[in-house]
């Protein structure tokens, strides 16, 4: 009881502390100077129609590389903590066959979801979306087939190889930027192309495709570790 009260007290304290921050906010009528610069120069400098992408992948590319590394550790950590103990086999009785409707539906939908995911990360520099979102869509296709075919096993070697190879390639593209363009993670190692076309914005589509593959395989890895651990 006392503990609850203390927790409540701490929360009230935080509310009082942070209330002025929220209540005094003036709605901004114009962009701040940094954002203005991005909006004004971004499309010309990087040739990417989606401005958010050009900030994420190029201007602040190192943060994105960091986020990719964080996700990589999260996958490794989950896989490590939920790893199957040696000798404990999965119980086949627990896993019931799913219905035929589900199986047929999955067979029909999986390629389409895959296609959609690939579309999202390939067009990351043109339309809303990008590598992270596309990767999640791809992982959702795998989740669907995991649910409808519980017996199927995922090939870890391939999953692992896709994950680390795309990471390595991402870094290699970054390093190429040092030697072929102005600095680490510069997208101008490839020609900027025509604004708004699929093959434009330099290396951004390549980087986002790699991120898409990496995020997709990482999330599948997490789902797979979770699926195997509950048996």
């Amino acid at each position: 009881m006392v503990k609850r009260f203390l927790i409540l007290l701490v929360l009230v304290f935080f509310v009082i502390m942070l209330l002025p921050l929220v209540s005094d906010i003036q709605p901004q009528t114009e962009l701040n100077p940094l954002a203005k610069k991005y909006v004004k120069d971004g499309p010309d400098e990087l040739g990417s129609a989606n401005l958010v992408t050009s900030v994420i992948v190029t201007y602040r590319g190192l943060d994105t590389l960091g986020e990719v590394a964080v996700l990589f550790i999260a996958t490794a950590g989950v896989g490590f903590m939920l790893r199957r103990r040696k000798g404990s086999k999965t119980n086949p009785q627990k896993k019931r066959e799913s219905s035929e409707i589900l199986q047929t539906g999955t067979a029909l939908l999986t390629p389409l979801i895959f296609l959609f995911g690939i579309y999202i990360f390939l067009h990351g520099h043109l339309t809303p979306g990008g590598g992270f979102q596309g990767g999640v869509v791809i992982a959702s296709a795998i989740l669907l087939s995991m649910l409808s075919f519980p017996q199927s096993e995922i090939n870890h070697k391939i999953l692992n190889a896709i994950e680390s190879l795309s990471g390595v390639l991402y870094l290699v593209i970054g390093i190429l930027g040092i030697y072929l363009a102005a600095g680490f993670l510069d997208n101008r190692i490839l020609p900027l192309g025509d604004f708004g076309r699929l093959f434009s914005a330099g290396a951004i589509p390549v980087i986002y495709s790699l991120i898409g593959l990496k995020v997709g395989s990482e999330l599948v890895g997490i789902l797979d570790s979770m699926q195997r651990s509950d048996s």
Binding site: K37, Y59, L62, D63, A69, I73, L171, G174, G177
Partner: protein, 491 residues
């Protein structure tokens, strides 16, 4: 030009290790040792070529504040040398130690990511980027604390993760407020903007950061996660966490933000002194009661961090010299002590001081190096710990903080007391132990010997001629406060 490679090399090594490793860990060892050796070389090179200069590397060819920059000055060079030095010895120690756990190659991948995170935090000149790299280091640390896969290790990792997330949330809140009021994320630009803003913003953000980074550096009263996490991790990881992680993520970030961005407001220096003294006394007292060797060492880390914070809080040139020197010294002797604890644990299967005994015959290298490390941490001449503590105490007296000087002296005496306990029960006890379960390998021995030698050798940094090219530039970065702005923007 060197700077991005300090991040690229360990990250590339981590990805390559997962790509090529099978069940065996041979390639993982080769890759990570190679990566770490090149990192140490780069760090040493950058430290000794920087001097009083500041180099800025702007990412992807744009100008700050549009992009992220990496900043190399004496302080970051100094921290990079410490991190990569301890990391190299830790890898040497790991090679045979980690084989007792399953899938050791994963350990090396996570270890490389831990290095990536710490190098990134130290090298970056962008406050949000600092947060991202801090998360990399922390996530890797959570996973590595749980590497032994026993219940208590999971518990410690979970506790660490909860506390780490709370502190990260607070830090992110602070970064958000800073961005809202200055509309830039480059640290030098933030510092320049803050000078024209209402000082209240600085105080609010500094208070949030104090708690956030205080949790990361485990000063009292934000220390609760440390004794569990640092004692449950595998020994080489304990040494990384206690030796460098709390300094890279905690103390280094505190120095950068409070001194270089906020310009060291006096009220916060006062808080540093108070928190530092509380840490010194209370943690020493708690350490005195421990029988678990690694737990004792973990509490000792809290109290030594207290010395560093006290030195920073006094804020005179001499005191900061002491604090900076103590950062290096503590990294060396605390890592060595954790290696000692690790090799005892491997050889005898226990960490309980009461179950240890006279180990002179069975583990000669471990026993003698632990003696050197204990004397260093307790602050006896001619070992390195003596000089840094002495400087901090003299600086406290000089700046009229007599009470703090007395607290530091009492803290040193308590440190001596609990390390005498370690030696008396753990290594020179009554029961002579001759049988050991597993021999201590050559890699583990050489890691301990290297650090024991450094315990003595590092003392020469205090000789004026050598100090002028090593420690003095670091002190000048800290003491010049917002000189950082000029160094980064006005090139």
């Amino acid at each position: 030009m060197i700077l991005p490679f300090l991040i690229i090399i360990p990250l590339l090594a981590a990805f390559l290790i997962t790509l090529i490793s099978g069940e065996k860990d041979n390639w993982a060892i080769v890759l990570s040792v190679l990566a770490e050796m090149s990192l140490l070389t780069l760090a040493l090179f950058s430290f000794f070529t920087t001097g009083y200069d500041t180099f800025v590397y702007e990412m992807s060819g744009w100008k700050i504040p549009l992009t992220i920059c990496l900043v190399q000055d004496a302080l970051s060079g100094f921290m990079l040398v410490i991190v990569n030095l301890i990391a190299l010895t830790s890898l040497m120690f790991s090679i045979s130690y980690i084989r007792q756990y399953s899938s050791p190659w994963k350990y090396y991948a996570l270890f490389m990511l831990l290095i990536t995170g710490m190098n990134g935090v130290i090298a970056t000149g962008d406050i949000f980027n600092l947060f991202v790299f801090m998360e990399i280091a922390l996530f890797a640390a959570y996973a590595l604390v749980a590497f032994g896969a026993k219940a208590e290790e999971y518990e410690a990792a979970f506790k660490y993760a909860v506390m780490g997330s709370i502190s990260s949330t607070l830090i992110l809140l602070g970064i958000g407020i800073l961005y809202a009021s200055t509309s830039t994320l480059t640290m030098a630009h933030i510092a320049a903007e803050l000078q024209t803003k209402d000082p209240q913003v600085t105080y609010w953000v500094a208070a949030v950061f104090l708690v956030g980074f205080g949790l990361k550096s485990a000063v009292m009263p934000f220390h609760a996660w440390l004794p569990d996490a640092h004692s449950s991790a595998p020994a080489p990881i304990s040494s990384m966490l206690s030796g460098v992680l709390i300094k890279a993520l905690g103390i280094y970030a505190i120095i950068r933000i409070f001194f270089n961005i906020f310009g060291a407001p006096p009220v916060f220096l006062m808080i540093f002194m108070v928190l530092g003294s509380i840490s010194i006394i209370v943690a020493s007292y708690l350490a005195l009661g421990q029988w678990d060797l690694k737990r004792l060492l973990a509490y000792s880390s809290i109290s030594q961090i207290g010395f560093i914070l006290l030195g920073l809080g006094i804020g005179t040139k001499l005191a900061i010299l002491g604090a900076v020197f103590h950062i290096l010294n503590h990294a060396i002797f605390k890592s060595l002590l954790f290696y000692n604890a690790g090799s005892v644990e491997m050889a005898l299967g226990t960490r309980d001081l009461r179950k240890m005994g006279n180990l002179r015959g069975a583990l000669p290298v471990t026993t003698s190096t632990s003696m050197i490390a204990s004397l260093s941490v307790a602050g006896l001449p001619p070992f390195n710990g003596f000089f840094s503590k002495l400087i901090i105490i003299i600086a406290a007296v000089q700046s009229q903080h007599i009470i703090y000087a007395i607290i530091a002296v009492i803290g040193s005496l308590l440190t001596l007391a609990y390390f005498m306990k370690v030696q008396r029960y753990g290594f020179h006890g009554e029961t002579v132990i001759n049988e050991i379960k597993k021999p201590v390998s050559l890699g583990m021995k050489s890691a301990m010997i290297i650090l024991a030698v450094l315990c003595v050798v590092v003392s020469i940094l205090i000789i004026p001629g050598i100090r002028e090219i090593t420690l003095d530039p670091v002190v000048s970065v800290i003491i010049s406060k917002t000189g950082y702005i000029q160094a980064v923007i006005g090139r």
